[in-house]
Structure formats: structure tokens, C-alpha cells
């Protein structure tokens, strides 16, 4: 769980709205972006293959030359405008990106303009197709060396997102955009709301709820939400030892944790209202 929290911190970037609030966007991870790219490519290529067969069988009367030329035109337009069309929409994401729950966003406070979408996708050609064209270049002696050097050079573009902290493609760099996570907001149940029927059984003294800080509270929240039997048992045991709580006859570990969570949160939030944020259990404020 601690891993999840620290990963959030690594990916977190400031996004200050004009209203002056930091929305703390999360950068999309490389895996999600590769996934999105693969899905989009599958969609494009399946679509193009379908179009190819329709044209070949539908256009034979006009002669194969015409059919092939039309196909090349379609190919050109689909490859160039697929990304632009979807990224200019309200979701600013291609179907692949939607499935990976990521989207394109402006790096600055300025809105994401159609220009920026255009720019970031114009570079796509260079980033991905350039290395490929070097790779498949016919190589006799001198040209072989040139294409190897070219491959290395264009590889810089391809692996660009791996070498900068904001995971920008060269296109993102130029367009002033980046790709961020866009999870569907799901409001998780408030754990503190469940404690009402438990109140009578669990009453903690002020010393007992002084034992931990905000960090521990959040870890506890994650433990309760995950609800894995072994972890719940261990954590409940640790807390009981720490606060000198004697386990009752019919006491359920999870109920104990929920009740303690509610009490701890109440205590910490009250102090928060007075301007004291106790970071963790070592924080003596």
C-alpha cells in the first residue's frame, strides 16, 4: 500500500486552475500509453484492411490502378487524421486512450488547443515511422551504415518518453501537451459512516486515539478497504498492542479497525480544524 502512495507522488504534477486550485494530475504511465497505442493501431489497421477489401472487390471495374490509388489516399487520410479527430473531441482521447483511461492535456494553464493536438500528432510520423523506415531501408555497404546511424538517431525519438520525467513524446514537447490519467471518478463509501452501530462496544480514551498520525490513518483506510483477512488480523493485533486494548470475547477484527479508524479520524480532523496536521506517529506536534 505504501508503494501505491509513493507512486502517486512520483506521477503527481501541479495543475493550477484559473480559480487557483491545484488539481494534482497524475501522469499516465508508459504501460498505459503503449497499451493505448497498440489498441489504436489495431483499430486503424483492421479498419484499413476492411476498407482495402471493400475497395478491391467494389472497385475492380475501374481497374486495379484506380483501386490501389484510392486505397492509398484513404490510408493517408486515416493514418493522419484518426488521432487528430479524436483528440480534438471533448474527451481528448482516442478510443485506445479511453480504454487505458488516459487523455491528452495541456502542460500549462492554457486550454488544450486544436493546434497543439495537431502538432503532437504531426510528429508521430517522425517518431514511429522514421525508425521503421530506417529499419527496412534496403542496405548496401555505405547505405547500411547510414541506415544504422539513422536508426540509432531516430531511436532517440522513439524512446524519448522514457528519458524525461514528464514522459513526453517529442510531439508532446513541441505541442506543449502531456498525457495524464483520466480515471472515472468513483466515490468510495465513507468508512466512518459505518461505525454508528458499533459505537457502544468501542469507546477509546483520548490517549488511545493519540497513538497515530495521518499517514497511519491512510494506511489503515487502505487496509480496511482491501479487507484481506490476514492483513486485517495482523494490523488489528498491532494496534491493540500499541494502544493497550484488550480484545473482547466476540470482537471482530474488522469491526475493531473500523471503529478505531473512525475515532482516530475524528481526533485528527478535530486537530486539523485547529491548524495542526499530525503527519505520522513520530510527529510530536
Amino acid at each position: 500500500m505504501a508503494g501505491v502512495i509513493s507512486q502517486r507522488r512520483v506521477d503527481q504534477r501541479r495543475l493550477i486552475t484559473p480559480e487557483g486550485i491545484d488539481l494534482q494530475v497524475q501522469l499516465a504511465d508508459i504501460g498505459a500509453r503503449i497499451g493505448a497505442y497498440v489498441i489504436d493501431q489495431i483499430i486503424i489497421n483492421v479498419g484499413l484492411i476492411a476498407a482495402f477489401f471493400i475497395i478491391i472487390f467494389g472497385g475492380l471495374s475501374a481497374g486495379p490502378e484506380v483501386a490501389i490509388t484510392i486505397f492509398i489516399l484513404i490510408n493517408f487520410f486515416v493514418r493522419n487524421f484518426y488521432y487528430m479527430f479524436f483528440e480534438m473531441g471533448p474527451k481528448a482521447a482516442t478510443p485506445g486512450k479511453r480504454m487505458s483511461k488516459i487523455r491528452v492535456a495541456s502542460r500549462t494553464q492554457a486550454r488544450l488547443t486544436a493546434n497543439a493536438v495537431f502538432a503532437r500528432n504531426a510528429m508521430r510520423e517522425i517518431e514511429i515511422n522514421l525508425p521503421l523506415s530506417f529499419l527496412f531501408m534496403s542496405g548496401d555497404s555505405v547505405d547500411g551504415w547510414i541506415s544504422l546511424l539513422g536508426l540509432l538517431w531516430s531511436g532517440i525519438f522513439l524512446f524519448f518518453p522514457l528519458f524525461n520525467k514528464d514522459r513526453l513524446r517529442a510531439g508532446d514537447l513541441i505541442a506543449g501537451t502531456w498525457v495524464v490519467r483520466a480515471p472515472k471518478p468513483i466515490l468510495a463509501k465513507d468508512l466512518a459512516s459505518e461505525k454508528v452501530d458499533l459505537d457502544s462496544a468501542y469507546v477509546f480514551t483520548p490517549e488511545q486515539v493519540e497513538a497515530y498520525g495521518v499517514h497511519e490513518l491512510h494506511v489503515l483506510e487502505n487496509v480496511i478497504r482491501a479487507n484481506e483477512q490476514q492483513t486485517v488480523m495482523d494490523v488489528a493485533e498491532r494496534i491493540r498492542n500499541k494502544i493497550n486494548w484488550s480484545k473482547g470475547m466476540s470482537e471482530v477484527d474488522l469491526d475493531f479497525l473500523k471503529a478505531y479508524y473512525a475515532a482516530l479520524r475524528g481526533r485528527l480532523e478535530t486537530r486539523l480544524l485547529f491548524g495542526v496536521r499530525r503527519k505520522d506517529k513520530f510527529d510530536k506536534t
Binding site: 495543475l15 486552475t17 484559473p18 486550485i21 488539481l23 494534482q24 494530475v25 490502378e65 484506380v66 490501389i68 490509388t69 492509398i72 493517408f76 487528430m84 480534438m88 471533448p90 474527451k91 487523455r103 486550454r111 488544450l112 488547443t113 486544436a114 493546434n115 495537431f118 502538432a119 504531426a122 510528429m123 517522425i126 522514421l130 523506415s133 538517431w153 531516430s154 514537447l173 513541441i174 505541442a175 506543449g176 495524464v180 483520466a182 472515472k184 471518478p185 466515490l187 468510495a188 465513507d190 468508512l191 466512518a192 459512516s193 461505525k195 459505537d199 469507546v203 477509546f204 480514551t205 483520548p206 486515539v209 491512510h218 475515532a263 479520524r265 475524528g266 481526533r267 480532523e269 486539523l272
Partner: protein, 333 residues
């Protein structure tokens, strides 16, 4: 005793939850079916709900320790933010502004780079022309074998003349099709892409392209076919070589911004330059497309030299007028 009453943060959540849900419904409608699907009431409510959600987020951050609420509000506000401050131009509108405004203005803004890149091409062409004229062996240094296609200094005037007026049997569409993957569109792409490395590869590429051009003209003029080869080249070359020069200019513009960022950071500078350069580059792709059409059809159908010159110079002046012709003052990129 601690923990007897309902938590304040929980009360806060129950009180506000309704309006969060409302915002969520509206966002879902916009993302699914667009702004037009909203009722008047919803449109009026949207900014209000957005601001109240933002304020909920600040309050929650300051007073609540419920991670669920904070994470939810962050992603809800971000979603609303992206819609309210997102791209609001349709693709059609975008395309029309591109042709009416952005493309010519981008070309105009980069006139210095364009001049340099044209000068490089010209310099190399003249140099190669003189070298090949004096010693035809130079031709083999400049010209890749697969491009020469029999058009070498050793070929007779008859063979050379033949190549100017016949394209070896394939028809216009076929040439156009193969054009999309041809040498020149690749050169243009590379000239742009390689500009990143402080302009140097772009400059080399432009010189190289100029060498090919110069030595090509030289072998024809050697057999006193200079005027004819001019017509053969200019009918599509006016567009195509111009496109390559512009691509080089776009590449150099980025390269210059990376090398000399001035007050900005290198990243900021690159992204600022990239906006204009990529607009121009999109235009270059369109020009290459036209050049393909001219090469495939125009050169096949028009074999009269004067007419070829006429079409070539005509397109050139159209491009020049389109890019650098006078415009109303308020049009600034």
C-alpha cells in the same frame, strides 16, 4: 468521549454529495453526446457546480482525512476542468482556419529560415552543376544509383531526351501512388525531423538535395537539353522543391530554438517554436500531395516545354502570393 458524534467531515460529505453527483451526470452527458445534449438548466448549472466542486475540494483537503473523497473530488474537478477549459474548436473549423490563416502565416513567420534553406539548396545545386560540367565523374559521387535510372553522363542525348517525355509506360495514377512513398517526401520529412539536432543534419540534407538537383541538370545541359530539363523539373519541382525548402525551414526553426533558447528553458523554447513549425510542416505535406498530382498527371499530359514552364512558374507564383502576399494587419500568428 471520543467518537460518539458523527464526524464533521462525514456531514460535510453528505451535504455536498448531491451537487457532486449532479456535476457527474452533466459531465457524462457532455462526454457522451456533446454540449448540445444539455438542457438549458444544466448549462446554467455547469459553471456553478464546477466552482462549488472546486471549493469542496479545497475544504476537503483542509479538513477531511477521508482519502476516498479527496481522490474522487480531484478526478471529478479535473474532468470538469478539462471540459470547461478544453479544446472547443471543431475539426472542420480548425481545417478552414488552417488554410485561411495559420499555414500562410506560419510560412511567413519563418521567412528567414526559408531564405537560408533556399540559399543552401541553391548553393549546392550551383556547386554540383559547375563540378559535373567540368568533370562528369562527379555525377556518380552525388547521385545515388537507383535514382539515376540510366540518366548518366554516359547516356546519349536521345536516351536523355526520351526520359523527359516518357515515364516508362506506367500511368499517372500509378506514379502518384508511388509518389506518396517517394524520395522527396522522405527528404522533406527528414529535413523537418532532424532539425532537432541544432539544424546541422537539416542543412546537410538540403545541401545533398541541392547536389542531386545540380548534377542532374548538368548532365542534361551537357547534351544541350538544359531548357527541356528545366521544363520537366519545374512543372512539379516548383511545388516539390519549395515544399522541401519549407520543411527544412521548419526543421531549422526548431533546431534554432533548441540551440538558442534565450530567456526560456530549452523545453519551453522548443514547444514554442514547434507550434509554428508543425503548422508549416502540415502544409508541406499538402504541398507534396499537390506535387504528386502534378508529377503523375501534369507531366504526363503536358509535353510542351513552354506550357510546362507556364504551369511551373504559375504554381510557384501562386504559392509565393499565398504565403507572402499582403494580408490584413490583424492576422498575426
Amino acid at each position: 468521549m471520543v467518537g460518539q458524534m458523527t464526524l464533521k467531515s462525514h456531514r460535510f460529505r453528505t451535504e455536498r454529495e448531491q451537487s457532486w453527483r449532479e456535476l457527474e451526470t452533466i459531465l457524462k452527458a457532455i462526454e457522451g453526446r456533446g454540449m448540445k445534449s444539455l438542457s438549458d438548466n444544466q448549462i446554467v448549472a455547469l459553471p456553478r457546480l464546477y466552482r462549488s466542486t472546486l471549493s469542496s475540494l479545497s475544504v476537503a483537503r483542509a479538513t477531511s482525512l477521508d482519502q476516498g473523497v479527496i481522490v474522487y473530488l480531484e478526478s471529478l474537478s479535473a474532468r470538469a476542468y478539462y471540459i470547461l477549459y478544453g479544446s472547443q474548436v471543431s475539426l472542420g473549423k480548425r481545417i478552414s482556419t488552417f488554410f485561411l490563416r495559420d499555414w500562410p502565416l506560419a510560412a511567413k513567420a519563418l521567412w528567414k529560415e526559408t531564405a537560408i534553406s533556399a540559399a543552401l539548396t541553391l548553393l549546392a545545386a550551383v556547386l554540383a552543376f559547375i563540378l559535373v560540367k567540368n568533370n562528369p565523374d562527379w555525377f556518380y559521387t552525388f547521385m545515388p544509383d537507383n535514382m539515376a535510372d540510366g540518366r548518366t553522363p554516359a547516356a546519349s542525348a536521345e536516351v536523355l531526351r526520351e526520359t523527359l517525355y516518357h515515364e516508362g509506360g506506367s500511368d499517372g495514377l500509378g506514379i502518384f501512388a508511388s509518389f506518396l512513398f517517394s524520395h522527396n517526401s522522405k527528404v522533406a520529412m527528414f529535413a523537418f525531423a532532424l532539425g532537432f539536432a541544432f539544424c546541422i543534419p537539416t542543412a546537410i540534407l538540403l545541401l545533398y538535395n541541392g547536389f542531386i538537383l545540380g548534377s542532374f541538370i548538368a548532365i542534361f545541359s551537357e547534351k544541350s537539353l538544359g531548357f527541356e530539363v528545366g521544363g520537366w523539373l519545374i512543372i512539379h519541382g516548383a511545388t516539390e522543391i519549395f515544399a522541401i525548402i519549407l520543411a527544412g525551414a521548419a526543421g531549422m526553426h526548431i533546431g534554432k530554438a533548441v540551440a538558442f533558447p534565450g530567456e526560456l528553458t530549452r523545453t519551453e523554447s522548443a514547444s514554442k517554436a514547434g507550434g509554428t513549425a508543425s503548422l508549416l510542416m502540415a502544409g508541406v505535406v499538402i504541398m507534396l500531395f499537390f506535387a504528386g498530382l502534378l508529377e503523375g498527371f501534369g507531366r504526363q499530359l503536358v509535353t510542351n516545354d513552354l506550357l510546362r514552364y507556364g504551369i511551373g512558374l504559375g504554381t510557384l507564383s501562386i504559392w509565393l502570393l499565398y504565403f507572402y502576399g499582403p494580408r490584413r494587419v490583424e492576422d498575426k500568428l
